[in-house]
Symmetry: C2
Subunit: 209 residues, 2 copies
């Protein structure tokens, strides 16, 4: 089994933090996204979608998308549970985890990618021939600000993103908050709950993954 | 339990088709998105994210995001399985299902929403104060064309989207292909495998849900 990874990017980091929380070791191969290695012939032969992270099983099965990769390991290594333990908790965590993706990760990515000349002609991950759209920089920044406010509200009501237990939703949120530093957005004094939570999750050993 | 639904929108339809496949009846409440009912005070009090579908359990728990809602029912009603049965099939289906969302649904939605005056100031679902961005119409259309080509390739290699069994990935793909009609993109003679599959899935009784 091999996990194609890139140390600097937020999505591969989600899987690395998840694996660290589970104590699972997987062979990693680095693919440099800004240098375009993910779009090169060699990696396209492995995953034509050209996205990271990508997990390749020993039988050749290719699994991309961070949460699908985590799902594979969650089924094989259920302890400690990071995706819920019954119908309600699994659904609540999946719902919260998707809020972190759609409201958070997508917003930061939109602002970051469309402002970055390294992604000229690569306005959508894994694609070429897609121009950057300058208007998305401001849209993404504004969405990120709204996300920080709503995450702060959320964390005013529960210890973790999806309730009283640490879960994969916290992993995504943590990677998003760190990713937002690349667009110069950080938690401020108006986000006391977010800061309390961030101090806690960034003190976990998995945060260095 | 109540499912907040809107008959015309693709995401709520994914859940309705899923429930029809499972033979599950849930009380539905219609919320008119183009008329802005999802952004009104009454629905915001139910789900501040203002998105549909939204499931509210009898204990008041709010679950939004189509796949999270389906996950809840999948755990309670595992037969027939639509989200896999073991680690590998669950991960492969989740991966394929996310391809349908990111490459397909998001592309069509981008073209549809940004071209539609009904969504002035609502460029992102569930939000206000977000201008439409005209450049996203063409980007979304181009991404949709690439999606149709890749879905056709995919369906040239397997009976269904995620392999030899019908799954939630087919439900999302089916709703995306129908949604694309709103932006005047349809499967053509260059998509024989997609047409073969579409004829089959649209003949299922669930397709009218």
């Amino acid at each position: 089994m091999k996990l194609y990874d890139f140390k600097m990017a937020p999505n591969p980091r989600r899987v690395r933090v998840y694996l660290a929380e589970k104590g699972i070791d997987v062979e990693m191969v680095q693919v440099d996204i800004p240098a375009g290695e993910n779009l090169g012939e060699e990696f396209r032969a492995i995953n034509p979608r050209s996205v990271l992270p990508t997990l390749v099983l020993d039988d050749g099965t290719v699994i991309d998308e961070s949460v699908a990769i985590c799902r594979y390991f969650e089924e094989l290594h259920p302890e400690p549970p990071l995706m819920g333990t019954d119908a309600k908790s699994r659904a609540v965590i999946e719902s919260a985890q998707r809020h972190m993706e759609w409201d958070g990760l997508m917003s930061v990515a939109e602002a970051f990618r469309n402002a970055n000349p390294a992604f000229d002609d690569r306005g959508i991950s894994g694609s070429t021939g897609v121009p950057r759209i300058p208007d998305l920089v401001e849209r993404g920044r504004a969405s990120t600000e709204r996300f920080f406010a709503s995450l702060n509200d959320n964390l005013g009501q529960s210890t973790y993103v999806a309730g009283e237990d640490y879960s994969i939703a916290d992993i995504t949120a943590f990677c998003v908050v760190d990713f937002a530093k690349w667009i110069q957005i950080r938690a401020g004094d108006q986000h006391p709950h977010l800061k309390r939570w961030y101090a806690e999750v960034s003190a976990r050993p998995s945060s260095s993954a």
